[in-house]
Amino acid sequence: MSVTADRSSVDSCLTAVFSFTAEELGGLRGLANLPNQVYRKSVKRGFEFTLMVVGESGLGKSTLINSLFLTDLYSKDYPGPSQRIKKTVQVEQSKVLIKEGGVQLTLTIVDTPGFGDAVDNSNCWQPVINYIDSKCEDFLNAESRVNRRSMPDNRVHCCLYFIAPSGHGLKPLDIEFMKRLHDKVNVIPLIAKADTLTPEECQLFKKQIMKEIQEHKIKIYEFPDTEDDEDNKLIRKIKEKMPLAVVGSNVVIEVNGKKVRGRQYPWGVAEVENGEHCDFTVLRNMLIRTHMQNLKDVTNNVHYENYRSKKLAAVTCNGVDNSKVKGQLTKSPLAQMEEERREHVMKMKKMEAEMEQVFEMKVKEKKQKLKDSEAELERRHEQMKRNLEAQYKELEEKRRVFEEEKINWEAQQKILEQQKLDASKSVSQWLQRVFTCKFKFNFSPLTCCI
């Protein structure tokens, strides 16, 4: 879409810096022409800018984008994501080509519908973080390729965070989100729908928010100080107004004969471009006219480098747990070697200790085995001894029995012999008697009765 705007632009910024009149050029060596050449080249190349808007639905993000770039990015035919009901947080991007004064800008708007809309919003920032990381990764890969002719820069250069105009302070969700994203992308907090607040309420609210931001150590985008004093004054004024309270509208209303963009209420018209009504013009000037390049630079030099070193450090230390590596981002190579050597030594020690352990274990085992076999042998020995004794006893028994028998037999023999003797004695006695008798009885030869 091409835009013919009344004021604004990238164009005015560049021409202000690079305008030289022909006379000036004529008297110099021509070095001063260098910026002109850069200018021409860049204009031909065109610029890219990626802007992310985050906030709950109904805070006027789409309207603000439309008002900032004077286009109808989200119109009735293509309603913005907030008109559709989302159940989970999505990240959607839409590209728009804006041309003005010969300068071409490829603007990518990244929207996050569904953010903070559910009942349970834990981790609703995760899809956003993933998106930002994936874009940085794409750029890292493109940078590391061999053929780097076309390197599209899709990294998110700026994140506008919309704070609901409660008038009290930041919500826990706001604080969590900003804490997690302040070191990945330039975060610019805005107070949405600022026509809800009266000027006093707005001041109080801004003070409260800045206090809370400092309390939680959130690093929002800081405007850099320039050498120019006047610019510094402007920058200081902007810093006082942070966070900017904005109102968006593309509806043109007539006020006192003038045509202005604003919102029509029964009690008056809130003008978008009136500095007393809201800070929209400050935002627009800052974002587009003065600090767009700075935002890109900070993204490239700070946020992207952070991401890159984290990523590469995690890859180079092989075999080491990634979580340990995060602390070693800024070590010199010598220190790295030292570290590695120490690690190696530690490993060795560990291995030694392990081996010793194993050895001890084996020794113990062997001892145990030996003891076991010893015990076994003893047992067997005992058993054999017992066996032997048993046999011995048996034998003794048998022997005794045998002895007894022998004695008996001898005794018997003796008795037999005795008997025999007795028998022979008695016989001889008889004979004797007989003879004697005979003598006696010789007188009477016949009285012998036997």
Binding site: K193, Y265, P266
Partner: protein, 357 residues
């Protein structure tokens, strides 16, 4: 012989109604007994033969109520920063909110939903009202808002339980102190798109135990067209989710009620702006909010619908809110309680004895 005109037995001539000095019973003129009155026959009733004085009962009731005073409990629910306290102050034209009752303005958002109630006695024209405001800080403010309606639901049921216990007592007080929540004002953030999931969940769950009046907070965020669109969308969403907000269609008694309530339902939810600061506008002092491009007048019906809400809430439906709470929500609770325990034993004294409640 008939000189004497027989005395007319007819009743005294009826005085036509439009002269009746007795017609507005709310005036402080006591109705004289025996004066001529319109002997109007009620539909189906018999014609009165003289003035009896039944209509003085309204006056008697009035006197009694004035003496006793009455209490009204209102609960406000909505996440922080929607102007709840300011609206209450504006409604009752006095500093009734929690913030002014001595509690310092909360710097920190509480981690869980808390229930804080403050009571005030407001007097006007001899009528005393004990107003109790129940605030719910911490609702919808966390990152994870699951079940943030539970403390609120529990509180409402606890009040019903208290009343039930008193009622079931054997020796009960003549006038049971009524702490039941009569009305719950739910503040819808003015996103301009549609209701959030949290809003629908809350209203679905509580519309059966309490009268919910949804209200669009901080309505000066939206222009008139945006407001109309938003209201329509909100109404449609409430209808599709089956949320019955007060005045509920099913409790309309007769045609008159129905037509009145229909008109009100068409304009709900009211888009309100609250303010307790006064400014000069056209020589008058009005409540409003001063911005760089004009002053938002709170009571101007072209600017916002605060006046409508106030009339609806206080001037016409206050008593109805109490009645619906007592007759319908409380009875539903009571029936459920009695059915689930198979009957209640009356408690002898002060509820110290635990029956099988």
């Amino acid at each position: 012989m008939s000189d004497i005109v027989p005395p007319e037995v007819k009743p005294k001539p009826a005085i036509p109604a439009n002269t009746g000095p007795l017609v507005p019973p709310t005036s402080a003129i006591p109705v004289p007994v025996g004066s001529h009155s319109t002997a109007q026959s009620a539909s189906g009733g018999s014609t009165l033969l003289g003035y009896i004085g039944i209509d003085t009962i309204i006056e008697q009731m009035r006197k009694k109520t004035m003496k006793a005073g009455f209490d009204f409990n209102i609960m406000v629910v909505g996440h922080s920063g929607l102007g709840k306290s300011t609206l209450l102050n504006t409604l009752f034209k006095s500093q009734v909110s929690r913030r002014n009752a001595g509690w310092p303005r909360d710097e920190k958002i509480p981690k869980t939903v808390e229930i804080k109630s403050v009571s005030h006695v407001i007097e006007e024209g001899g009528v005393k009202m004990k107003l109790t405001v129940v605030d719910t800080p911490g609702f919808g403010d966390q990152i994870n808002n699951d079940n943030c309606w539970e403390p609120i639901s529990k509180y409402i049921n606890e009040q019903f339980e208290k009343f039930l216990k008193e009622e079931v007592n054997i020796t009960r007080k003549k006038r049971i102190p009524d702490t039941r929540v009569h009305c719950c004002i739910y503040f819808i953030p003015p996103t301009g798109h549609s209701l959030r999931q949290l809003d629908i969940e809350f209203m679905k769950r509580l519309s059966h135990s309490v009268n919910i009046i949804p209200v669009i907070a901080k309505a000066d965020t939206m222009t008139i067209e945006e407001r109309q669109e938003f209201k329509q969308r909100v109404r449609k969403e409430l209808e599709t989710s089956g949320v019955e907000f007060y005045p509920q269609k099913e409790f309309d008694d007769d045609m008159e009620d129905k037509s009145d309530n229909d008109k009100i339902r068409e304009t709900m939810p009211f888009a309100v702006v609250g303010s307790d600061k006064e400014y000069q506008v056209n020589g008058k002092r009005v409540l409003g909010r001063k911005t760089a491009w004009g002053i938002v007048e709170v009571e101007n019906s072209n600017h916002c619908e605060f006046a409508k809400l106030r009339d609806f809430l206080i001037r016409s439906h206050l008593q109805d809110l109490k009645e619906v709470t007592h007759n319908i929500h409380y009875e539903t609770y009571r029936a459920k309680r009695l059915n689930e325990n198979g009957g209640l034993h009356p408690i002898s004294s002060n509820g110290t004895q635990e029956s099988n409640l």
